[in-house]
């Protein structure tokens, strides 16, 4: 009775295997049908086909900016193409998850052009990237937030430069109250700060109604969703609130992870979601929820997004175009000696105010890292050069914003200083 015959056993194992396969198929199918298949960003570089050169450039102004940067440095680019790898090199890199699909696209494409250079990038988070490049266990790192002075001091010789940029979108769920996600609600910095500080707890708060006279805002509780894990998205979001709102700057500040007042204020409900999917999922599941996600994630999942008032006083809906305008209009010329750029609340009538660059981290003298030999260093420097020029064309197809020309120029100056024991790596 207790012992089962081996025949029985085999049959049962077969049944179990069948059940497992069915469950996996149903769950997988359901998941991919609810979240659009492109949301699994880590798979994108594998599944997405190579965009042809023409189809990538859809928006004319992006074309202009990209071609501007290409033409301005055409002579240098051509001089770079003379470099050819002589030995096979394996480059290790790790860091932020936000630029991972783009960086993987680059590494795959670069490997097709230069088959001897294999670059493997692991998206382990900005903090992990900083940690590993500081510990010199990877050849280069990546971080969404610019490094603090203390972090730079901990890794002497480390330098960083922006490789792409992204916006942060405000998303909300009021469908149950008759406001579909296609309705664009207006937000100001002070209203967003009020919601995330727990002082605005109802959707029909006078401050929100005043911004959205046409919308039937309900007498409903606001569930406020934020990231629970540290992230560059949180950095950009809190950076914007700190720059525009002194109250926020003194009580909360900005960082990759902050202590959210809304979590502990009586009567308010703060919720932390892990990653963009966690935030989007919590917003989607909760009537009356608001949250912030990477623009790329909002676009790919067709989330409804709100318009945010920019420095010029206009209501701007986030898009690749409005984030690019913000980057182009950000005040001041980037200084190659310190490329930690802040572009939140940028000037310009059409600039979207919540945006941030994401950075690659490398030792200026690459021999500082014992794992990096000369051949590797040459390949890395050349790959960087390729990424900020040719690589930028792949950004729009993956919903990233290509670098504006002035930042490409500043990046170029920085890359020219990369060296190996004093010998420049780029001519």
């Amino acid at each position: 009775m207790i012992r089962m015959s081996s025949k029985n056993n085999k049959r049962n194992i077969g049944i179990v295997a069948l059940v497992v396969v069915i469950i996996a198929a149903v769950a997988g199918g359901y998941y991919f049908s609810t979240m659009s298949s492109s949301s699994t960003t880590s798979m994108m570089p594998v599944t997405s086909t190579m965009p042809s050169e023409t189809s990538v450039m859809t928006e004319s102004s992006i074309m202009t900016s990209a071609s501007m940067s290409e033409t301005s440095m055409a002579s240098m680019t051509s001089s770079q193409s003379s470099w050819q790898p002589t030995v096979a090199v394996q480059v290790l890199a790790a860091g932020a998850t936000f630029p991972q699909p783009l960086i993987q696209k680059w590494t795959v494409t670069y490997n097709q052009i230069y088959p001897q250079v294999t670059i493997s990038y692991s998206g382990i988070g900005s903090g992990g990237g900083i940690q590993q490049i500081t510990a010199k266990t990877v050849d280069f790192g990546a971080s969404d937030a610019p490094l603090s002075n203390a972090q730079l001091a901990a890794a002497p010789g480390l330098t960083l430069f922006p490789e792409t940029l992204g916006g942060v979108a405000i998303t909300y769920n009021l469908a149950a109250f008759g406001i579909p996600s296609s309705t664009v609600l207006n937000f100001t910095s002070s209203v967003i700060a009020g919601i995330y500080m727990g002082t605005i707890q109802k959707w029909n708060d006078p401050a929100l109604v005043a911004l959205n006279p046409g919308a039937p805002l309900p007498d409903a509780h606001i569930t406020v969703v934020h990231r629970s894990d540290g992230s560059g998205t949180t950095f950009a979001f809190t950076n914007f609130l700190s720059v525009t709102n002194p109250n926020w700057a003194s009580q909360v500040g900005f960082s990759t992870s902050v202590t959210w007042p809304v979590d502990t204020v009586a009567g308010a409900t703060g919720v932390g979601g892990k990653g963009n999917p966690g935030v989007a999922g919590a917003v989607k599941n909760t009537n009356g929820a608001i949250g912030y996600v990477d623009l790329i994630y909002a676009i790919q999942n067709n989330l409804g997004v709100g318009a945010v008032q920019n420095a010029a006083g206009n209501w701007i809906v986030p898009s690749i175009q409005t984030v690019l305008w913000a980057a182009q209009n950000a005040t001041g010329t980037p200084n190659p000696a310190d490329l930690r750029l802040h572009i939140v609340n940028a000037q310009g009538p059409q600039s979207y105010p919540i945006a941030t660059y994401t950075y690659l981290l490398v030792y200026r003298d690459m021999s500082a890292n014992p794992n990096t030999d000369l051949a590797k260093a040459q390949a890395i420097a050349h790959f960087f050069w390729w990424a900020i020029h040719d690589g930028q064309q792949y950004a729009p197809a993956l919903d990233y914003v290509p670098l504006p020309a002035n930042v490409v120029a500043a990046d170029e100056q920085l890359l020219m200083t990369l060296n190996y024991q004093g010998t420049p790596l780029l001519p």
């Binding site: 988070g125 900005s126 903090g127 940690q131 202590t259 703060g270 919720v271």
Partner: protein, 324 residues
């Protein structure tokens, strides 16, 4: 001839033990050594935090890793410890009776044709990866709790502080429910083994005295198997308190101590999973996460120790009663 064979066998036996002995000793000591090394690594990693916060780390409920004024982080483990204990208790409250019911059904009541399929289905639950439970939690359980279970609890038991406040499905109750589902197969499997192992004579004696099926289970089977059942509870508890991925996805991740089970909270593993990747270049913050891991290590260790003590004590009693 026979003696010859015996002699050869004895020689073989004499030779093999040495080799076997060495392997067994090494494997037996490997695990304690690994556990000690990881304890050392945790202690080593958390030195900064222990020095900075001292005992206050266990009693402070503030969690400010990046203060706005740029000062040193202010960190306390109490909200995470509270969330871990509460979610584990909810999970045990739900899972222990269900596991016991499953075990009794499978060993005592189920007809032969139903028994094996039932065992396989329950064990299938144990094979599901926790991240899958987490996805299921976000996509199904959270909306289900927020639209069905939570409003019902507020309506009928809303006067209790544990069932008050705003409900949105993300919180300790949902985390406890998902944990319960995850630990049921472990509890049920161990409980079934111990219940099945109860000697036939024990049952027959009760039946002979005129006991019904239920009385036999209650008076003859469960008391005899109680030590094993407690062992199963301890095993399930260890699994629940260390569970990370599924909990992180449904608990709401907020450093807050609240009586309401509906509100978001956090557990020790969820804090570590959330914050570890972005913690670089911040010595005390990183050390605090190590100290959280150390606390978890200590909690699980103490729980297992208590479970062991309980088992040995009950084993004595059970044996004494049995002998009489």
């Amino acid at each position: 001839m026979q003696a010859q064979v015996e002699k050869v066998r004895a020689q073989k036996r004499a030779r093999h033990p040495d080799f076997l002995h060495a392997i067994l000793v090494v494997t037996a000591f490997a695990l304690p050594v690994i556990a000690t090394l990881s304890l050392y690594a945790l202690l080593n990693g958390s030195v900064d935090s222990i020095q900075a916060f001292g005992f206050g780390f266990l009693t402070s409920s503030k969690w400010i890793p990046n203060p706005p004024n740029g000062g040193p982080p202010i960190l306390g483990a109490l909200p995470a410890m509270y969330g871990s204990v509460v979610t584990t208790l909810i999970a045990l409250l739900i899972a222990v009776p269900i596991s016991l019911g499953i075990a009794l059904f499978q060993s005592e009541l189920a007809p032969g044709k139903l028994r094996l399929p039932s065992i396989f289905l329950v064990e299938l639950l144990a094979a599901v990866p926790s991240v899958v439970y987490g996805l299921w939690g976000i996509l199904f359980l959270v909306p289900f709790m927020s639209s069905n279970v939570d409003p019902w609890l507020v309506g009928s038991l809303g006067f209790l502080p544990i069932f008050s406040g705003e409900t949105n499905g993300l919180g300790m109750l949902t985390a406890g429910v998902i944990l319960a589902i995850m630990i049921i197969p472990y509890g049920a499997a161990v409980m079934r083994e111990v219940v099945t192992a109860v000697p036939r004579a024990q049952r027959e004696a009760c039946i002979a005295l005129g006991g019904t099926k239920w009385e036999t289970m209650r008076m003859a089977v469960i008391p005899y198997a109680s030590t094993g059942i407690i062992a199963a509870v301890v095993l399930a508890m260890g699994r629940a308190i260390g569970e990370t991925m599924a909990v992180t996805m449904v608990i709401g991740n907020v450093a807050r101590i609240t009586p309401s089970l509906f509100l978001p909270a956090e557990t020790i593993p969820s804090v570590i999973a959330n914050e570890f990747t972005e913690v670089a270049g911040n010595g005390i913050y990183l050390a605090a996460l190590f100290e959280l891991a150390l606390i978890l290590f200590a909690i699980v260790f103490v729980m297992n120790l208590l479970g062991r003590l309980l088992i040995t004590r009950l084993a004595f009693h059970g044996k004494a009663a049995h002998d009489v």
